[in-house]
Symmetry: C2
Subunit: 710 residues, 2 copies
Amino acid sequence: MSKDKAKVRKILDAVKAAGRDSLTAPEGKLVCDAYGIAVPQEGVATSASDAQKLAASMGFPVVMKIVSPDILHKTEAGGVVVGVKDTQEATAAFDTIMANARNYKADAQIMGVQVQQMLKGGQEVIIGAVTDDSFGKLVAFGLGGVLVEVLKDITFRMAPATTEDAYSMLDGIQAAEMLKGARGSDPVDREALATLIVGVSELVSDFPEISEMDLNPVFASKDSAIAADVRIVVDFAQKMPRYRPSEEEVLRSMNRIMQPASLAVIGASSEEGKIGNSVMKNLINGGYQGNIYPIHPKADEILGYKAYRSVNDVPGEIDTAVFAIPAKFVAAALIECGEKKIAGAVLIPSGFAETGEHAMQEELVTIGRKYNIRLMGPNIYGFYYTPANLCATFCTAYDVKGSAALSSQSGGIGMAIIGFSRSAKMGVSAIVGLGNKSDIDEDDLLIFFEKDPNTKVIAQHCEDLKDGRAFAEVARRVSKKKPVIVLKAGRTSAGAKAASSHTGALAGNDKIYEDVFNQCGVIRARSLRDLLDFARGVPVLPTPKGENVVIITGAGGSGVLLSDACVDNNLQLMPMPADLDAAFRKFIPPFGAAGNPVDITGGEPPATYKNTVLLGLQDERIHALILGYWHTIVTPPMVFARIIVEARDEMRAQGIEKPIVASLAGDVQVEEAAQYLYEHGIPAYAYSTEIPVAVLGAKYKWARGAGLIR
Amino acid sequence: MSKDKAKVRKILDAVKAAGRDSLTAPEGKLVCDAYGIAVPQEGVATSASDAQKLAASMGFPVVMKIVSPDILHKTEAGGVVVGVKDTQEATAAFDTIMANARNYKADAQIMGVQVQQMLKGGQEVIIGAVTDDSFGKLVAFGLGGVLVEVLKDITFRMAPATTEDAYSMLDGIQAAEMLKGARGSDPVDREALATLIVGVSELVSDFPEISEMDLNPVFASKDSAIAADVRIVVDFAQKMPRYRPSEEEVLRSMNRIMQPASLAVIGASSEEGKIGNSVMKNLINGGYQGNIYPIHPKADEILGYKAYRSVNDVPGEIDTAVFAIPAKFVAAALIECGEKKIAGAVLIPSGFAETGEHAMQEELVTIGRKYNIRLMGPNIYGFYYTPANLCATFCTAYDVKGSAALSSQSGGIGMAIIGFSRSAKMGVSAIVGLGNKSDIDEDDLLIFFEKDPNTKVIAQHCEDLKDGRAFAEVARRVSKKKPVIVLKAGRTSAGAKAASSHTGALAGNDKIYEDVFNQCGVIRARSLRDLLDFARGVPVLPTPKGENVVIITGAGGSGVLLSDACVDNNLQLMPMPADLDAAFRKFIPPFGAAGNPVDITGGEPPATYKNTVLLGLQDERIHALILGYWHTIVTPPMVFARIIVEARDEMRAQGIEKPIVASLAGDVQVEEAAQYLYEHGIPAYAYSTEIPVAVLGAKYKWARGAGLIR
């Protein structure tokens, strides 16, 4: 795209000099011209042949208007002709307008006749840009009129947007069909629309002082998309850029914090019930192998470890300091940590911003910045990092090692994560409390977990993103490698209100979160259980190689519900090819249902489950299996579970790996079978047809976003 | 509403006589007139003063047109004037048209000048009616154009619709705001629109031969709603009415079947592993106190009970016969049951319609009809009725008595119901398998459970409703007394496809199910887990007396998610009055959050939970409580659980009952606390903020539908 930045710079400078906060229509048009954003073409003709040429160059029909400083009421003067259809009409219109004008005011100074491209009806759309506190510049797209205003059918992307982003916006509105030529109209020129979207997004990115921009309406027809009206709002006030260490620095600090060789516990205590005592015990009992240095004003030894008055008294290097002292003592101790060149402070204490003590929190941030210590919290439970057997928290120890890295903004949600994980035997690499997020944020965690070989999936609960743009930029890259799952609380206005009373965070427009998460390949969990189930199931599943999903079920009723769930989770049920249908039929009773779901019918022996599953794994056209089990005496739950794991293992030995999930309908014994399947890499749920399919859906969503399936 | 049935009858008779399947525009207009459905007014004037009077009576503007068999091209003849604005213009227009006509064709026969009401722009809407295979006549409403065609923004009600139904349709579309005067336009005349909807719904109900009807477009303005175009399609073919016994008969039979004094097991067996053996054991071990008569071709005694060759050999009366014999023997045994005047046959055997053996199933239906035996199944697991200690199934016995009556069309889903119920210790009154639904259907169960004092909530899984109208009519009445929860499988087109391959049932349009369920006060479960959680929780909760919900939470983070869930479940967070806010603040730390959620903050002792919950129960402005618990050492899970039950009991002793649900965030001990709370009447969930709120939402939905809260 051709961009004339200098031209835009000059116009904005003039606007700034004039102390204005918006551009005039002609200025807006010039800015658009400079960025290849199509606006109606126009020119001034001083002769009939001029008018002919101009009109021909921009394409008929055109509107022609007298240009004269002495004629204000052009229509009254007979100085306007609309709908000029060809060169002959253009000549006639020119002559008529000139004659009328002279008739109207004989001594009028006439500059000529303006010839302006006339916009064809087509589809009215809106393209705009806004500046969001968290995500910065965003470009927006929607259909004009009712659809945007009443149904809020609009979609956002971070600016600058790529051409691919732009096309995804055209497909990303509810009424997308309208652009494809619904109701007998022509499909719109998608390329032209995408060019406008990209142009607007680049313009506002190149010139941050453009705070808002509207092209409304844009007329999109089958061969063009032209902005009939342009509105540009500017804000020249300087924004303080948020402090961000470089990614290398972040990684260096986070590596030391999360995998410390030495760790100090400031406020360590021998006294049962104290937080500093719980932290010490968890470190020791958790099996942490690094050095533990209790810091205490008086004690010489705590739980068998030599205690020190200050971190400065500790002989060797310290990577991480866990704080378990009252809020008012934190700042002084943090300075000592700074002097000791500790990489990070885990600030368990509460009594900062969350209780209105903003200044006290600000003080910590200033100290942290000065000494280059990263702060986790304050107001947190601490963190777990299981590969290092590290339980730097006052909560009970957690030791089921695995590959899910979870974090929460809220302590309560953190506790729910711990409880669920333990109950479900979910393997985790880390559980991190972020609390007030005075410094360490979701994107710092992403940067660490991206490189962490022990982590395969990253699941985060958050109420706000203090720097949505930084998060999005990192998430966009990380999600290409590892699934990033986010539960954004405060989705609804009631939730957002509660969020702001809780953390003082300004909750963003939820639609913006939704779209930016999609743009970055982030999987959005709709509920706490979704977050937990996805974190548990997604890393367990192999990545599917294509979109063809097949349901194999013993219970026809489950098949129906599983099919519903596939649609809800955007999974494609493969239309069953005739040869494959015949192959499945060999294993199932004659009255078993054809097609997909494959209904093997109830009362079948283990061999039928196994044979059909083996076939499903072997056939290359199938990319994922959803199993519906029905508890019978012929194939009891654990027999089913073992046979499925066997089938999967046989195929794995031949190099075949496909995601399998299972729904188990039956008496309580199916719970044990589901747990067995899960532990063997097959996410399985008792009494639910929805959850296993949602887990598979999350895996697919990630794989699509990461470009692993097309 | 004035209805001229005779006039419509006459027109339809003429259409039938002519062998046509649709009405002409003038016929449609006459039909509309007969039912007070507004169409543009018109009349023929033979003088200017006539024209004036006519125009004035219908209101300006009007369109005036020449009426002459000799002038076909009216416009060409100068015979049309549009936009006639007042009486003066009407006179002029009449004179002009007449003069032009004579000019055009001097010898033309002129009948006069047609004066027709000109429709004002306003909002274009569509009102229509369709005939659904299951639900019969339905009336539909939507906005014209894009919204109906592209976004499918349309809503249905069973016809005839009440005025209240009609208003709910105006509010029931996504773009409802458009009718209220969005974008600076006038709000439409709701009364006029409702009149049209009711009129159409009554017309199609009174004349079943009207199979489809469209008023499209209807122009709705601020003071009228007029159908510009009417299309009526007819189908005179006679429909076989479905056989339906009277409700008294249904109830008489169902009472005998579900609570039999004597029961025969046809195919009873001493042989371990046989279905007839399992059924016998379940009856005996389940503690059924009635007479059990094993029927067996040879045995004299089975499991200690005297056996008979045929039911006809049994001395006393038999209410219910449970079949455990192969499909091919069923018909003969069923005839014997008929001779014995048995009320119902529980047809466990499979091998009928579900395996393509439609004729065999039809034979059973014919026998059942002949002898007045009601048939449950075939192809089912049987049924449980716990108040009678009756386990008439081959599945394992179920004995947790309670008030939820569940049923399933599919055996697999039935097994999931049994497993979940047992695992969650859900008290049930009945679990019934409906299978192929050759006879006994969801509405038969509704009729029985409506009167059953042991049942407080009815939860049904179904894939189709063979007679949706019968179901809806019964459900509409029953749901006023007891919550009716339905999981309709085959919601999506993929699910519906699986449903039809499973049972051969034609799955209805899901939007129709959605709207009819709403119209009947049926709570729709979106998933199997929802069905189960609602069945478990809804009967446990007292009925709320108003819409004011308050969240009390120890975890701010849970508060945010609980608020989100309130919005998702259509619950109203009460804006906190200043005095009540102050009253709550007395119990919570100064940094606890104001308003609703009441954030008591983490780390508070049991007394804070108790005091705030007591206040929430005492204050009359609050109607329901949602609790967010955060596991801490200060208030461990079971301490929290006991204190809440205590608080509830104290208030109950004072006659105060409000629904309370709880979300528990914490380590695994919260699972025990949640179970304790649930067993004490407080639906509580570990690791989930969504489910408890969804359960409360289901209770509210029912209470609103039953008119218990406004």
